[in-house]
Every structure is written in C-alpha cells, then in structure tokens.
Symmetry: C2
C-alpha cells in the first residue's frame, strides 16, 4: 500500500481503550476508581505518544494492553477472575487490519502478558488460535516472561469469586437461573488504534467471566467475535457477556455493516449495541478507517479512554 511504503505520514491518528463494561465505575470505591483511571491514562499516553511518532497501530495496541494487563484492578493479566476450579485462564487476541493477519491464545496460565503471546501466534506460527498447554509451550520456546499462577490472584477477585459461587449454589438449590449481577465492574481490556500509515489494529485481553468452567474460551480470543480489524472498514474490541458476542459475531458484524450496508461506524456500533445484543450484555470500542472513534455500551457503565492527533485526550468512567 502506497501509504506504507512512502515516508509520508498522515497527520490523522486515533486510539481508544476500554477497561470493561458492567457496573457503573463511578460506584467503585474512590481509591479503586483513581487507580483504574491512572492506568487508563498511562496506557493512553503511551499509545498516543507511539502513534504520534509514526509507530504502528499494532505496537500501540500491544503496548497499551500490556499496561492494562499489569493493572491488578482490571480483569486481564494480573487481577484476572477465578474460574470454578479456583485457577486463572487468560485469553487474548490481536488483529492487523492491513493484512487481516490475526493471532490469539486462550487458557493461558503462566504467561504474564497474553496479548504479546497472541501477537507471537500471529507472526510466528501458521495458526490463529493456540490454547492451553500448546500456547504455554510457544511462550516457553520464545522465552516470554512467565509467572506463578498466583501472580494473577488478587483478594478483590477472590471475594468476587466467593460471591459468584454463592449465587451459583443458590441457583442450583432453588432451580432459578443464576442471579444477575449487574453492578460488577467486569474489567476485560482492549484497544483499537489507527496509525499515521493509515493502518488499523485491534486487540483484547481478559481473564474471562467470573467462576467460568475450566477450559471456557471467551469471545475475546475469537477473531470476529470480540476482536476484529480491517483497514477497509474499522477495528473493534468488545467486552461483556462473551457468549452473546460469539453467537452474533459482533466485532466482525460491525465491520460488515460498514462494508455491506454502507453504515457509518457510529450507526453500525449503535445497531449492534441496541438491537443485536440484549440489554446489559456489554460494550464496544471501535475506530473507523477515517479515524472516527466510537464507544457504546448497554451496561450501567464502561471504562474507556480515547485520544487523537487533535486536542482530544479523554478518560471516561461510566458515560459515553
């Protein structure tokens, strides 16, 4: 592509992050809110600086997500939810809108930054998705930073897990469905970026859903469900009730609405959030090929942050 082989950088760039949809982050304890806000801000600054200097969207996505994975108050990397066996299984995916190259991992247990392993699957294997021990083996081969499984554990997530187990036990006893838990701040993380070469990239990373069955793979790790990018349309990262995002192929559907129905990004995102998904299913961040940023959710809140080459530098807690 001409823009890539020439040295002429466009002025336009854009980056948007999320730290998960779910309960209203404004209701979090103030110290937690401040800490999440600081992590989002740090990630956004890093990503923006990289894009401003002509760095690639893929690098911006990977580096910002690494920062969010390291933040223990977000459900990705350190601070991941517990599965029903009391362990952590991490999922991540990344996609290059220029080539449609993509890589993903699921069920990772000892890799500090799953998003980087997802990128290694994309660039270093002929596969798209590696899970469990196979993904761990690649991390060992590539000498990725690995940690004890307990590194991912936090008291906060352990309390949430205990609560989820109680709700599940209540449901089993009464025969009712598991009580909805709408005030939880879920904390999957993601990033979409447009770089000054005109290339889009998207990535997502998560610990999955609280008290999930071992081996459960989230939409995050599934190209087209929770993560998608195509220079011709947009990049998308999703967060919420993963199974609904898989069923409807939400991330790619936003791209397809732009391609087939000629919907602008905002219309495509709004349709999916308001019509395709059920209330309280989750949220989406996206950037179109022209640098338009979209943030939409149908939960009480969503943590997000956005910046572009103009003055915009914004961290959102709750509102769109």
């Amino acid at each position: 592509m001409a823009a890539e082989t020439s040295n002429a950088l466009r002025s336009r760039y854009a980056i948007v992050l999320h730290g998960g949809a779910g309960g209203d982050p404004k209701k979090l304890p103030e110290d937690e809110r401040t800490q999440i806000q600081a992590a989002m801000q740090q990630a956004l600054s890093t990503g923006r600086a990289l894009l401003a200097c002509g760095g690639s969207a893929l690098d911006a996505v990977e580096r910002t997500i690494r920062i969010l994975e390291d933040e223990p108050l977000l459900n990705a990397g350190r601070g991941a939810v517990f599965n029903s066996a009391g362990g952590h299984e991490l999922d991540a995916a990344i996609m290059d809108g220029r080539t449609l190259a993509c890589g993903a991992v699921a069920g990772v247990r000892t890799v500090k930054n799953p998003i980087s392993l997802a990128r290694a699957v994309m660039t270093g294997t002929r596969h798209v998705l590696l899970v469990g021990e196979g993904a761990e083996a690649l991390a060992r081969t590539l000498e990725f930073e690995r940690v004890e499984p307990s590194y991912f554990s936090t008291d906060r997530q352990r309390e949430k897990w205990e609560r989820a187990k109680r709700l599940a036990a209540d449901a089993a006893r009464t025969g009712q469905p598991v009580a909805a838990w709408d005030d939880e701040h879920k904390g999957t993380v993601g990033c979409v970026a447009l770089d000054r070469h005109g290339n889009l990239a998207a990535g997502t990373s998560t610990g999955g859903t609280n008290n999930k069955l071992p081996g459960r793979v989230s939409d995050t790790a599934l190209i087209g469900a929770g993560t998608y990018a195509d220079n011709a349309t947009c990049g998308v990262s999703c967060t919420g009730t993963g199974e609904e995002f898989i069923r409807h192929g939400v991330a790619k559907d936003i791209s397809t609405r732009m391609a087939y129905l000629r919907q602008p990004l905002d219309e495509a995102v709004t349709h999916v959030i308001e019509q395709t998904l059920r209330p309280n299913d989750g949220g989406v961040i996206a950037v179109s090929h022209d640098g338009t940023i979209a943030v939409r959710f149908n939960t009480p809140g969503m943590t997000w942050a956005a910046a572009d080459e103009q003055a915009r530098f914004e961290v959102g807690l709750g509102h769109e």
Copy 2:
C-alpha cells in the same frame, strides 16, 4: 415460532454432508473410495430418514456426524490427523438456527464423538466453547463414551504425518515455505440440515490440520468461522485451510451476505469460494431457509452427499 408449536409438518426438508475438501477423491485407491462412499451413504440415509419422520435438524446433524466420526478414512473422530507431538486433538461445533444456540469443543483427546460433546456444551452449560481438559471434564461428568487416544490413530494418517514432517523439515532446511500438498484428501466432516419444522442446524467435526501445533484450534470449532446456522438465512459447514476461514469469518459471512446484501444462497457461497478465499483453500456446504442446497469448493475435489424430500439422494466424489 408457529411452525414449531403446531403439529403441521412441512413437506420440505434437505440435508447435505461433507467429508472434506482437498485432493480429488476420485484419485483415492478404489477400496478407500468405496469405503468413504459407503460411510457418506449411510450417514445420508440416516439423516434423511430422521428428517422424513419429522425429526429435528439438530438430531440429523449430530447423528450423521457421529457416523462420519466413526469412519476411520475421514479426519474426524477415529482416523483423525496427528499433531506435531504425535497426538490427536479433536474439534467440533454445532449450532441451532432457530435460537442461535451453539456449542463447541476443541483439543479433545479421549471423547469418541466430539460432536455430541459440542451439543452438550450448547445445552448443558452457559458457555459456547470448552477446550482441552475442561471439555474432557464435562465428558466425564456426563458419562460420554471415552476411548484411549490410540483409538483415533490409523496407519494411513501416521504415514501422512510422516510425510508432513518431512516436508516441514525440508522447508526449515531450505528456508522455503512448506510445500503445498494439494493432492491430500483432508477429510473434515460436516452436516447442514433443514427439518420439517422449518429449522436449520449445522455442525462440523475434525481432527484439524496434519502436523498442527498442539493446542491449535481449527475454524471447525469457531462459531461463524467454520460453522453457522440462522433460520433467517442458512446453515453452513466449512472445510479447508482453517486459518483463512477464521480470518474471513466465512460461515457467518455467507449468512450475512443473504441478510444484508439479499444475495441468494448460491451467489453468497460462490462469492466466498471464488472471491474471498484463495484458490485451493477449501469448500463449503450450505442449506438455505427455503431448502436450497449448495456445495462449492476451490480445491481439486470434495466429498459430499445431499438429499431432500424429492427424489434427490446423491453422493458426490470430486465434482460439484
């Protein structure tokens, strides 16, 4: 839906199966060709009889795929390819076009019929995709028939694995890409059915790609990539170079082309095979909501079979 709650059965039904795209099945040794043909015929008879009696598309899909999984000359269940560690890891998915409910498993090592486990994920858990040990645990809980990993091994696949390893070693030595191996009959299996209640279902099952890395998940197991069904449009099962089907979300794209671009099934399938995928990537079977059957591939051959409530009862080896 009215059609489901009333006892009035429509006359229309349709079923289509595949046993994989790849090399021309007409070039297989005659005894192998005869055996594959017999398995396809048996599966088709079973599925057609079930649908003729008013059975559900989901049951037809599961039962026919079980028969194909048990056939050692097809790459699903018994007769699965070897991964690079010399083991077998099986993937399967199933989807209900009436409700968009879906279930899938990947990296299964001891479950005789992965398609049935995929259905159990759909009906018995709140998840869509379970992999590895987590999927095995569900099979144990449900007392599914389990087998020694060696049950899946055949001499034929072991020879193909040895050949694939030699080609990979040659490629590593010369620095060239791994030589294409176009004459291989790959043998993923799938089924799409429309029942007399007007409901569509689709399913796919595979051992994956020869000499794959352990932990590699195929498009087969990914809803929207290798498997999709929606009563509003069509059901689809794919086979071929899985990573390309993931990247382009092929199964759902066929459905979306019908929904958004108002393309008839045949046009949607033809576009994907001729324009979206690369030559030799694979093939697709599909049934539209009105019972139209489509079989298309861009490989030298594909094994398939189709029947409907009219006289059609056809087993295809190679041609469309």
